[in-house]
Amino acid sequence: MDFLTLIQILDSSVRLAIPLLFACLAGLFSERAGIFDIGLEGKMLMAAFFSAAVAALTGNVWIGCLAGIGSAVSLSAIHGIASITFRGNQLISGVAINFLAAGLTVLVAEAWFSQGGRTPSLSGFGENARFNGITLPFAEQAAEGGMLGQVYSELISGHSILVYVGFLTVPLTWYLLFRTRFGLRLRAVGENPAAVDTAGVSVVTLRFAAVGICGVLCGLAGAYLSTGLQAGFVKDMSSGRGFIALAALIFAKWRPWYALAACLLFGFLQALSLRPDAVERITQMDVPGQLLDALPYILTVVILAGFVGKAIPPRAGGEPYVKER
């Protein structure tokens, strides 16, 4: 396999890893604060639709992106009200949010555009209707300059702004969680909320803040999906990415840098399943594409089983906090 093919596969790994990364970090905030979130998938899907729909209606992808974030945050609010205010079952609430998004997106898409549950392709709405690739300085000259130049021009340059934002979110998340007072409290509320309460800090506020950040990041994941990776919304376009992100979160043992690594790995697997020809040439075997599709899930089950390092979730995860017991 030649070098350029490898670079191309890595390039599409990066593109495919970004929605996983946003969603994974979203889950990280929520679960570190003790709120399980299996509704990442639904929030991503909802944001994907509203980003593409509003971008198509206004011709401006930034307004679309904001609308996407808004829609994901409102689903987060439902999750927060159900699991924090009314101390309901967080898993059941997550399941409900996934279905709510799956149904509402098609319903609204049909009402607004009448195209069988999709938005029109964003390529017909002008330059600004989607996130376009940014060519970094000297990328064209670098393409001539050997292997390192190709890495720069093909792999590092040419992505949309959200890709670079995604990579920046990782150190930002790490800093926020591990180097600020807010982060310390947020992590504490996921481990021992009673202690945080005793210290006079509101558990409810902290958890709502975490769920809100989770919504914003899911919004970015969805916006990238429909306006960066693809040009428009199609029904069920998140296709399990929210659950792969959840898998990556467990794989990363709830840590930001590991999350980046896990998402890149899972993005790489997705990229490979799009290039069966390359896989066949490397392995000299007929690897079924379905195996590559299922690999993230299989790896997660192996990790969960504790055969390869134990994944220990935040201790108070999934339990509603009851004051004054």
């Binding site: 009314f86 309901g88 409900a96 279905f99 319903l107 009448s114 899930y297």
Partner: protein, 378 residues
């Protein structure tokens, strides 16, 4: 705990939750510019106006009874089995393999074998998450979600690479043959002289599902195992103290749950004549709504399954006649799960306050002494 009478807990709360869910659904229909009253009229006319409408409703309800019971049994052991979708898909594989491997002489023997095949494959698919939960503490919700995706990949592989007859283009198994075709309700009712549309796919599996409802009731409330499952579900520490093995209960409850989900395939695969991709069509997930709405009681599951059967059939009518896509049913399903499951306390808290107020006005009527521990507890 004893703030409310039993009937309010079992009937009033779910009823109010469902009314809220449906009121919001009506709001959604208004918001997309359609008429909810007209929509309901169409749904009812499309289901109860013709006998094949009823037939389709019962066909869907059969699926939902199996998956609803599956989720309900796991709920009794306080486990959330989201894997019904994957377990039902594997059940379909089991049924297909059983029917394709032996030339069955008569549908009745084939049905028994198919039930065993579907149940075994469904239970097998639930066994790994169950074992990991019981022995290694891996969260059952996450593992069953992962197993849903692994199941769908496995099923694609099996259909495309193994089961697809040579020369065929679409990913589906060979036909099972005429001998194992399940008798439809029209044929069964024809024996006693009642006319019923032969076009409707509802078949003898419906009665198997009814039997399953009864057997699950028997299991949960009339056997030692059922008692142990419920005891474990109420309090793991108390169950452990009483000598009940958590490992055994987790694994057995999940095996029963997976088997019930897998048995759905006699309706969705055997009666269909061949195994196709996506034969489950989300029934595994609707089972969650059905179990929550039916409060994990077989009778409740039966009624909720009928309601969802009506919704799916009515939704297909709406899709056909109006601009409301069938995804409306997914929205209703989501709202039912949200209000009967996650937002249960939102309805319960004010209602409890109401009952307390009522009770304070008539102090002599309360027979039970005030219970301080109930106050200090949850």
């Amino acid at each position: 705990m004893d703030v409310m009478p039993k009937w309010a807990d079992a009937l009033l709360i779910p009823l109010i939750s469902i009314i809220i869910a449906f009121a919001i659904s009506a709001g959604v229909i208004v918001a997309i510019g359609e008429d909810p009253v007209e929509a309901i009229r169409l749904m009812i006319a499309g289901t109860f106006g013709r006998s094949d409408g009823i037939g389709f409703m019962l066909f869907y309800a059969t699926n939902f009874m199996f998956t609803g019971l599956a989720v309900a049994v796991a709920f009794h052991a306080r486990m959330f089995n989201i894997g019904g979708e994957g377990q039902a898909a594997l059940g379909g594989l089991g049924v297909a393999l059983v029917l394709l491997s032996v030339p069955w002489p008569h549908w009745s023997i084939a049905l028994l074998a198919a039930i065993i095949g579907g149940a075994a494959f469904g239970a097998g698919w639930a066994a790994v998450p169950a074992y990991l939960q019981a022995k290694r503490g891996s969260h059952i919700v996450i593992t069953t979600i992962m197993f849903n995706f692994i199941a769908s990949a496995l099923l694609v592989y099996m259909l495309v690479e193994v089961l697809k007859p040579a020369g065929s283009m679409d990913p589906a198994s060979a036909r099972f043959g005429e001998a194992v075709a399940l008798p439809r309700l029209s044929e069964i009712l024809g024996v006693v002289g009642i006319e019923f549309s032969p076009a409707a796919p509802v078949n003898v599996s419906f009665f198997v599902a009814l039997l399953a409802c009864f057997l699950v009731w028997l299991l949960i409330w009339r056997t030692r195992l059922g008692y142990e499952i419920r005891a474990f579900g109420h309090s793991e520490t108390a169950a452990l103290y009483a000598g009940i093995s958590p490992t055994k209960i987790i694994i057995v409850a999940m095996l029963i749950s997976g088997a019930l989900a897998g048995m759905m395939a006699i309706n969705s695969v055997m009666a269909n004549g061949r195994l196709v991709l996506n034969s489950v069509e989300g029934a595994g997930f609707i089972g969650i709504a059905v179990a929550l709405m039916g409060r994990s009681h077989p009778l409740g599951v039966f009624l909720a399954a009928l309601l969802f059967g009506f919704l799916v059939q009515g939704g297909a009518e709406l899709d056909f006649w109006t601009n409301i896509p069938r995804e409306l049913i997914v929205v209703i399903q989501a709202l039912v799960i949200l209000f009967t499951g996650a937002l249960d306390n939102m309805v319960r808290m004010p209602l409890e306050r109401l009952f307390l107020m009522f009770r304070r006005n008539t102090p002599d009527e309360g027979t039970s002494a005030p219970n301080p521990t109930a106050q200090a507890g949850e």
